[in-house]
């Protein structure tokens, strides 16, 4: 068995795009801080890009003890090979015991490449991370303080806990939106360590010609209220009613995969296993039967109202409030109640 370096630090990949820090490293830092404190090891970030050094401060305020910064004009655009070189070299040198990436399109491209080169295990799309013990079922040998990597599998039908007991480091990607970014602490101090990239031939072989970023038209993960529609909405026009309720509540419009597949609404509104994971204060599921893939993305919402004509719809099993009825009648009633005089704030 190789040296597992269980005293090594925890390393988080701090994803940024065009000099703007993504939300996901801040989410990972709050969980990473918890894990690092449990293990009594330092928490580090690696920041890769061009003119990104200024972002280190924010990472420290959110919990990092050390920020490794690889700042180089050749790292301006994300490329698998060049970024994997920087992160891989750092892992070889610093030997962290745990590496965490966001399960974003970038993280899901970078992490497997780094893991393959390191020949270590990688668990994708975790929804929770814990520190715990593991007993090898064959040898009965127990290992303490391993990273328990918890993820839904099999289309969300099972929750699996994965461990990497033999190889180093323990590497994982974590879904966006499932962990909460904590507030920054401006008094926190940490160290910034510059990293010199050592490219090898072929690392910069890619030429990025053009990138067009679409301004997101919806922000499901940041919404405190989500009104979501499913197949029961019945049409593209039917989503106007969903939108109307969402607007009234200052929330966002979500959708089940069935509604997206039927062409009622675009994919960026999709909640669930292959869409966004959300945990708003209030989630109103309208005409959504509640396939397990959908529930996996929303069942941690603080309050769930389900509206469905079918009293046996599985969505009712995760709902706090059940309304068995037709959404086309129920939603107008909710709108009426919201706009009714009894609820208006007294005007001053």
């Amino acid at each position: 068995m190789e040296d597992l370096n269980r005293k090594g630090e925890i390393l988080i990949f701090a994803e940024q795009d065009n000099g703007v820090l993504s939300e996901v490293p801040l989410e990972l830092l709050s969980k990473g801080r918890e894990l690092a404190d449990t293990l009594k090891v330092p928490l580090a970030c690696v920041l890769v890009g061009d003119k990104v050094g200024g972002l280190a401060r924010k990472l420290i305020q959110h919990g990092a003890d050390t920020v490794y910064v690889a700042d180089d004009p050749r790292l301006k655009d994300y490329q698998t090979a060049s970024y994997a070189r920087v992160v891989g070299d750092l892992i070889t040198e610093r030997r962290p015991q745990i590496c965490i990436f966001g399960a974003t399109p970038m993280g899901r491209d970078l992490a497997p490449t780094v893991a393959s080169a390191q020949r270590c295990g990688l668990t994708a799309d975790c929804t929770d991370l814990q520190i715990g013990n593991y007993t090898d079922p064959a040898t009965k040998e127990e290992q303490t303080s391993l990273l328990l990597q918890i993820r839904p599998a099999f289309g969300g039908n099972i929750i699996a806990t994965i461990v990497n007991p033999r190889m180093h480091p323990q590497m994982t990607t974590v879904r966006e939106g499932v962990m909460h970014a904590g507030p920054p602490n401006p008094a926190r101090r940490g160290q910034v360590v510059p990293v010199e990239p050592r490219f090898q031939p072929g690392d910069l072989a890619l030429k990025v010609l053009e990138r067009t970023m679409r301004a997101p038209t919806c922000n499901l993960r940041g919404a405190s209220v989500i009104v979501a529609g499913g197949a029961g909405v019945g049409s593209r026009e039917g989503f106007e009613l969903i939108r109307e309720l969402a607007d009234e509540l200052g929330g966002e419009v979500g959708a089940s995969r069935a509604a997206v597949d039927a062409g009622y609404i675009s994919q960026e509104h999709q909640v669930g296993q292959t869409g966004a994971t959300v945990r708003p204060r209030l989630y109103i599921a309208c005409g959504i039967s509640g396939a397990i893939q959908h529930r996996a993305g929303m069942d941690q919402s603080s309050k769930i109202i389900a509206i469905n004509r079918d009293p046996d719809a599985p969505i009712f099993q995760v709902a706090h409030y059940r309304i068995v009825g037709d959404l086309h009648e129920v939603i107008p009633e909710i709108l009426r109640a919201l706009r009714g005089p009894a609820l208006r704030e007294p005007e001053s």
Partner: protein
């Protein structure tokens, strides 16, 4: 000139059609209770490779790793137009995680010396999206994930990628590996002529199994071997033999395959149990809904 393309495909349980009896009491999955299908995005990968052949010439070879039953997806690939199919099958490959799987595939794909490798973005049973990138790393190929459009010119590929909140167009040198999105294309239908022809395609292990059934338990090993080799030769002559490789054929290091070569372990599996906790029922009436809304305003959930 044409390009040599390899498409990696996987036979997966149809996780969208999971019913009650697909989950066992202990929370594990009863794969036998689920229909096995051609992984959806691997169809898009196959179509992307076929389009390259349509435009530039060359060959399309489809590789899968799995049990002999995975030949069903290989037959489907032949029906859609693949030139050659290879089943990588070996008991010693069982329990491979993504690292071991990508290593085994890299040994098999490497033997074929392709210019282009196509994989589906991810498989619906694990949703990890790891094998494509890991295979590219092991082959030393340029990785282009989330491919939607591809144009080739000489040894250069111009690829448009869907990067979630936007699109990126990039130029990459070949050899390259692409992971293909569902949105890239739609797999062509199979021609009836090809269906009739390739439904008879078999891998050697399938032939051996059907010979065993045909000759019965009393047949001598010599008789079984003779009949198997006769049928194998006959299929090969008609272009209906699915190649079958084991770990020795591809020169894989055994310590990097199967459970031994897999760093990850499943520690625990729980089936998703619905909370079924406290809930309150509200009638779809004006009065009842008014009361619900008033409560939500009072506890500051809304407003």
């Amino acid at each position: 000139m044409g390009y040599t393309s390899v498409v990696c495909v996987k036979q997966v349980p149809d996780t969208k059609r999971i019913t009650g009896n697909a989950m066992r009491e202990d929370g594990t999955v009863n794969r036998a209770a689920l229909p096995a299908i051609f992984n959806p995005e691997d169809r898009n990968a196959l179509e992307a490779a076929l389009r390259v052949r349509d435009e530039h010439g060359g060959t399309v070879t489809v590789v899968t790793m799995g049990l002999p039953s995975a030949c069903d997806v290989l037959r489907e690939a032949l029906e859609r137009g693949a030139d050659r199919c290879i089943l990588v099958t070996d008991r010693r490959a069982a329990a491979s995680d993504t690292l071991a799987t990508s290593y085994i595939l890299s040994c098999a794909v490497g033997k074929l010396k392709p210019d282009l490798v196509f994989c589906g973005r991810q498989a619906i049973d694990g949703d990890t999206a790891q094998v494509g990138p890991q295979l590219a790393e092991k082959l030393g190929f340029t990785l282009m994930t989330y491919m939607e459009e591809l144009a080739l010119e000489g040894r250069e590929a111009r690829v448009t990628r869907n990067i979630g909140n936007g699109r990126e167009t990039a130029l990459a040198r070949l050899p390259a590996l692409f992971t293909v999105m569902e949105s890239a294309n739609e797999m062509r239908p199979a021609a009836m002529r090809k269906i009739m022809k390739f439904k008879k395609a078999r891998a050697p292990m399938e032939i051996a199994n059907s010979v065993k059934t045909a000759l019965g338990v009393s047949a001598t090993p010599e008789a079984l071997a003779a009949e198997t080799s006769r049928r194998t030769e006959e299929l090969a002559a008609r272009g209906l033999l699915i190649d079958q490789w084991n770990l020795d054929d591809i020169g894989a290091r055994l310590e990097w395959c199967g459970g031994a070569g897999s760093p990850t372990r499943v520690n625990r599996v729980q089936s998703v149990v619905l909370a079924g906790g406290d809930y309150r029922e509200f009638e779809p009436t004006q009065a009842s809904i008014g009361q619900l809304v008033a409560e939500l305003v009072q506890d500051h959930t809304i407003g």
